[in-house]
């Protein structure tokens, strides 16, 4: 590509004015335009692209970016600037304009981690790898999230969005890994068995206390890591050498000597802290150690410990209950005793694994219960005796230990929560990036309606149903015997006689002498995604319901696995999926009544529905997975989900679905659909039906063609 000439200031200012809506916003664009005009063309393009992409999110943010980014353009890698911008937009999405402005104005703070010309590593690029890494280590399955500083609350490891302390991206990644492992070690090796929050509160100035504790504990944990993960320990040593963080003070080393021993605990660290507080110099923090956040830890423990205790004791009582039932059948009644014992296991740092026993017989634990056991052991260091008493009837309120399932209908009561909802990303084409966890999706049930709709439909289409059944039956796997095969189970006598005759005649004998049973197993799972938006009100809704009835009747003869879901939404916080028929349900009166009960709801937000149903389809094992949308128009919802935005998001969701091996197909009655459907579904993956009353007829027919 030839080098393009640089853009001039007037053009840039014109563009900025347009994107930043200067007419209304009165932002001053001439100075930044002048500055951008001084840049080389690639930088100009980079700047303008991001201004445009950001302006679709918020004009103020985009303006701040324009003003602030120029000076960093030469000093920072593009990736770092992009991470900064994306983080700003995420902040805006999640917490609003004010925090986002704070963030974008403070680019120095963002780049504080990166020296002037160093190369940063972005967490987003490596989060999954780090997560797999942490899950592989023993102990509780920790989550990884982004935060300004590295710390852990014993449930989640928080890491900064970008690290640029070291010279190369590889080394910076290793630093991420070291940080993650160090924070893992804090929960794994019992740093928080010490009630830090309460202890810190006793000090008028807690900072020196916490700093000394942290420094001493780091020595202990480093020794633990050296024993547990020697390879990583070598890397940590190398990083420390690179950064000159080695602290070779002789008195420090003699003080910390006991903490390096294998049996040292955080209590030893605490004792040393009390002994030497204000008496020795505290070494500078290590690059990977992050900060201590006793408050968050205390909060987390306060929630988790009673909950897990309740869950554990209730689980024990269930085990006991099952046992008692068996005994009652055998007319026995005995007292039972739960205990734990240690089974030697050298793969774990403690050298043993806890086993639960009932009357000295090991109890096989389901996965979630053994995870619970591990988690309790991590928090308390042991399983206390009071945990081993099965919960009495009604001793615990189930809400205490069960994951709360929020009633989907409560969403709009009070401030809406995102709890209990599935969160899905949404594609913002202007930003060319996902809006993270943007849609809160809830599964809702349809209240069944028992009236004469089903009867009427069956009567109305009785001829068609017969025809459909017949044609669907014909598609069922019929075993066919294939003749004249080169190999097979039996001998094709006709072929053999002919071959023998031919060989007598002197021609070459055929080797196609066998018969083989050919079985074409249908292995199809299909989800029907039905538009329940308000625009379907009236005959479209009726046609949809009729189609579903016919389809279900036909599919029952065919035996394909299928599920039916409705979708509708109003703005991103209220995306709703209606369960009409799930895969595991059989087609019966109730399902029919649910089909009858399908009523038009709100708007057509499609992306989330496709993403959610893709997930459901992926959980079904089948050779072919199909997602069929029955719709009456293009995507349309509040908060800008219309026009290009909605179409692009839907397209993106379909691309994601296809990537995971699902075939999407669309049946629509929108006669203008030819303008946008090819873009969304591709040229061959949709059908437009001109007349609504043809829908019931066509849907089954299309399904038949699609799958044969």
């Amino acid at each position: 590509m030839a080098d393009l000439p640089p853009l001039d200031a007037a053009y840039i200012e014109h563009k900025l004015n347009e994107w930043l809506e200067v007419e209304f916003s009165f932002l001053k664009t001439s100075t930044p335009a002048q500055a951008i005009a001084q840049l080389p063309r690639p930088d100009q393009d980079f700047m303008l692209m991001w201004v445009q992409r950001m302006s679709s999110t918020n004009i103020e943010l985009a303006y701040q970016f324009t003003v602030r980014a120029i000076e960093f353009l030469n000093k920072q890698e593009r990736r770092v600037i992009e991470a900064w911008v994306l983080h700003a937009m995420d902040t805006y999405d999640q917490r609003g304009l004010h925090p986002a402005m704070e963030f974008i104005k403070n680019i120095e703070h963002f780049i504080q981690y990166s020296h002037d010309h160093s190369v940063g590593t972005v967490l987003q690029d490596h989060a999954t790898v780090l997560l797999h890494f942490c899950h592989g280590l023993s102990g509780r399955q920790l989550k990884i999230e982004e935060a300004e500083q590295a710390y852990t609350d014993t449930q989640t490891i928080y890491l900064p969005p970008v690290i640029a302390t070291l010279a190369t991206p590889e080394d910076n990644f290793l630093l991420y890994k070291a940080s993650a492992a160090y924070l893992w070690a804090q929960t794994r090796f019992g740093t928080f068995h010490v009630p830090l929050y309460e202890l810190a509160a006793q000090h008028p100035h807690p900072e020196p206390f916490l700093a000394l504790f942290h420094a001493l504990e780091t020595v202990r944990l480093e020794a633990c890591i050296a024993r547990e993960l020697p390879g990583l320990y070598r890397v940590m040593q190398r990083i420390q050498e690179q950064l000159n963080e080695k602290y070779d003070d002789a008195s420090w080393q003699s003080i910390t000597q006991p903490l390096i021993q294998p049996g040292a605990t955080s209590q030893d660290t605490l004792a040393l802290t009390h002994e030497h507080l204000h008496k020795i110099n505290i070494p500078a923090p290590q690059c990977f150690q992050g900060t201590l956040n006793p408050e968050r830890v205390a909060e987390c423990l306060k929630n988790r410990v009673p909950k897990e205790k309740a869950a554990f004791r209730v689980a024990l009582s269930k085990i006991l209950e099952d046992l008692k039932k068996e005994e009652a059948a055998r007319h026995e009644a005995r007292e039972h005793q739960f205990r734990t014992r240690k089974i030697s296991d050298h793969t774990l740092p403690e050298g043993f694994r806890m086993e639960l026993t009932l009357d000295d017989q090991p109890v096989p634990l389901p996965d979630h219960l053994s995870k619970l056991l591990t988690s309790i052991q991590l928090d308390l260091g042991d399983i206390p005796d009071e945990y081993l008493v099965a919960a009495g009837p009604g001793e615990y309120d189930p809400s205490l230990y069960e994951e709360k399932e929020v009633d989907p209908d409560e969403v709009w009561q009070g401030t809406y929560h995102e709890e209990g909802a599935f969160l899905y990303n949404e594609w913002d084409f202007r930003r060319q990036h996902y809006r993270k966890n943007w849609c809160a999706v809830r599964e809702k049930t349809i209240s069944p309606v028992y009236d004469d709709f089903i009867q009427n439909t069956l009567r109305k289409y009785s001829g068609l149903i017969k025809h459909l059944r017949k044609s669907f039956e014909a598609m069922r796997d019929e075993d066919r015997v294939l003749n004249r095969q080169t190999y097979g189970d039996g001998i094709d006598i006709d072929a053999l006689v002919q071959a023998l005759a031919e060989s007598r005649n002197g021609s070459e004998m055929s080797d196609q002498l066998f018969t083989r049973l050919h079985r074409n197993e249908r292995n199809i799972a299909v989800v029907f995604m039905v538009d329940m938006s308000g625009s379907t009100k009236g005959w479209i809704n009726e046609a949809e319901r009729e189609s579903l009835v016919l389809l279900a009747e036909a599919l029952e003869t065919l035996g394909d696995r299928y599920a039916i879901y409705g979708f509708s939404g109003m703005a991103r916080k209220r995306c709703e999926i209606y369960k009409i028929k799930e895969f595991h349900e059989t087609y019966n009166e109730e399902i029919r009544a649910r089909i009858t009960g399908i009523t038009p709801k709100d708007y057509t937000r499609m992306g989330f529905a496709i993403r959610h149903l893709t997930k459901i389809l992926q959980d079904v094992e089948a050779r072919t997975r199909i997602l069929i949308t029955i719709s009456d128009g293009k995507p349309d919802d509040y908060d800008n989900y219309r026009g290009a935005y909605g179409i692009e998001d839907t397209r993106r969701a379909l691309v994601e679905a296809r990537r995971s091996g699902i075939h999407p197909y669309c049946i629509t009655i929108d006669t203008e659909a030819k303008d946008y459907l090819p873009h969304m579904y591709g040229d061959a993956a949709f059908t437009v039906i001109d007349k609504v009353n043809q829908l019931p007829l066509k849907v089954s027919d299309i399904y038949r063609r699609l799958t044969s």
Partner: protein
């Protein structure tokens, strides 16, 4: 050097295959053999089911016929079929029929992979009748006392399609296999491959890490077999991190990020 060709029913195991019992599976197998009961081996892949059968064949001094089942395995593949030879049709026994005739141990590996109708063929063999009807010959083959039927099955797939039918499973004496305890597994690897005990222990620890990942991205953790593979590579001079990557990580998944995650684990450990 050329490979040795053997008829399937002449495959005797001369040297003792190394097998470390986890529980009383050897006694149960021997007892079931004496009582002429068929045996079902349950357990995840690579935990030693096939090795166990080889060991038992050696112990009982029986020839062993192994059939690895796949989803195109038909009943004729097991029982036998007519072939054409010089203008004549000739009956050729399948592996199952020939095992019954000779009174061998017949081991059907991963039985759920076979078609459902194929599984049914073994039913008359697996109850007290102990016969194999061969319709095409109009014969009923009565199994001699020395014949033993064993099948294996991995319940971990947890798929409706690949489940063993009750009518099949309720004919067998079931032996459950699982990964051995850490100590035992370390011994197995050290003894099987000859790497130092300390290194075997690290490998077992690494296996534990991959088993932690089961359910959060991996379908299965590393099996004992994979550890043995890695240990062999290490013994041959490959560095442990590379050996783990090639013999274990790549065998477990194709997902790039998961591979990277596992690579980070192994590089941390060694």
């Amino acid at each position: 050097m050329t490979a040795r060709a053997l008829k399937t029913d002449e495959y005797f195991i001369d040297e003792e295959p190394y097998y470390e019992p986890i529980g009383d599976e050897i006694e149960i197998f021997e007892s079931a053999y004496r009582q002429q009961l068929p045996i079902l081996l349950k357990g995840p892949t690579g935990c030693g089911k096939t090795r166990f059968i080889e060991h038992m064949a050696w112990r009982l001094k029986k020839s062993l016929v192994t059939v690895s089942c796949h989803d195109d395995l038909t009943a004729s593949d097991l029982v036998g079929r007519f072939l054409v030879k010089g203008g004549e049709t000739v009956w050729v026994d399948g592996p199952l029929a020939s095992a019954v005739r000779k009174g061998s141990i017949c081991y059907l590996d991963e039985i759920v992979e076979a078609r459902k109708d194929t599984t049914v063929v073994i039913h008359p063999l697996a109850d007290d009748r102990r016969v194999l009807p061969i319709d095409k010959l109009g014969e009923i083959l009565q199994a001699p006392p020395g014949f033993c039927l064993a099948i294996s099955y991995n319940p971990g797939y947890q798929s409706v399609l690949k489940d063993l039918k009750q009518s099949t499973r309720q004919r067998f004496v079931a032996l459950e296999f699982d990964y051995p305890s850490a100590e035992l597994e370390t011994n197995i690897i050290a003894k099987e491959t000859g790497i130092p005990h300390e290194q075997a222990a690290r490998l077992v620890k690494f296996a534990g890490m991959t088993r932690n990942l089961k359910g959060s991205g991996l379908e299965e953790g590393a099996s004992t077999r994979l550890l043995v593979h890695a240990a062999r590579l290490i013994k041959d001079g490959i560095s442990p991190v590379t050996a783990c990557h090639a013999a274990i990580a790549q065998a477990l998944t194709d997902d790039d990020e998961m591979l990277a995650g596992i690579a980070e684990l192994s590089s941390s450990l060694f």
